[in-house]
Symmetry: C2
Subunit: 155 residues, 2 copies
């Protein structure tokens, strides 16, 4: 027979104060849901929302990475998309929106540079739709493991 144990817990309301949404242009389905979720939370609690997009320099092959035009073109594309995301968030009703553009390996850059600088207490990211043991949202997984704050991986 189990007796009634006293647990040292008193439930308290808990809300996040500052959100960061990581945009991944290559993953439209879960990325879109993640963006919806981030905007919903930021609007409901009237908290600041950072939108970060990373130019994945590892995406470009060596030939391309040697061509400044290719990199510059991709950077401009990402910057334009980022502007569009900021605009959409504001139209939805999020008042405090900060665009953050960086480059390198997304997981590393977000954990090592973006989070320490922007200081969100929750990072939201998509995850390449349904996972299998062979197809994992690498960046999402890295964030969930190494971010110093809470992380929501949206599927």
């Amino acid at each position: 027979m189990t007796e009634k144990r006293q647990l040292n817990i008193e439930v308290e309301s808990m809300h996040y104060q500052k959100l960061l949404i990581a945009i991944d242009d290559d993953d439209t389905i879960s990325s879109k849901r993640a963006f919806n979720y981030a905007c919903t939370l930021a609007k409901a609690y009237q908290i600041p929302l950072g939108i970060v997009s990373i130019l994945e320099t590892g995406d470009l092959n060596i030939y391309q990475s040697l061509s400044p035009n290719v990199v510059e073109g991709r950077r401009e594309e990402i910057a334009a998309d980022l502007d569009a995301y900021v605009q959409k968030a504001k139209e939805f009703g999020v008042e405090d929106v900060t665009p953050i553009l960086n480059e390198g390996n997304p997981g590393h850059v977000i954990v090592e540079e973006v989070i320490p600088s922007f200081q969100p207490d929750l990072v939201i990211c998509g995850s390449k739709t349904k996972p299998s043991k062979h197809l994992i949202g690498t960046h999402a997984s890295y964030l969930a493991k190494y971010a110093p704050c809470s992380v929501t991986v949206v599927r």
Copy 2:
């Protein structure tokens, strides 16, 4: 000059419909925050909350696992704690609370058995406070990687 690109996104409100909180008795700090967060969401949106606790059979060494008394004692302890969590959630204002008790490897059991059966669209779990590259919430990390639904790792 970046030109205004048209992004095919229209922001929509997004809320989760059914939550699962994974309780870890060994990790009181982030586990407590995770429990607070799960109760806050479940109450705010008036959605069902499942509370799952797993008897980690791998925790017990071979000598102990051969003793039915040790395993049974631990199982009763966990069942009593689970009851207490359910009670606390209800007192906080969550109406629909389901206790789920299972045993084995927490990550595997939750992904392979609990989620398919309970069908939450968001799993919330703690993560052994601040991570380092050598001390990771193994179960949290596993859930974030392999759960078929969204996962929030709380720190």
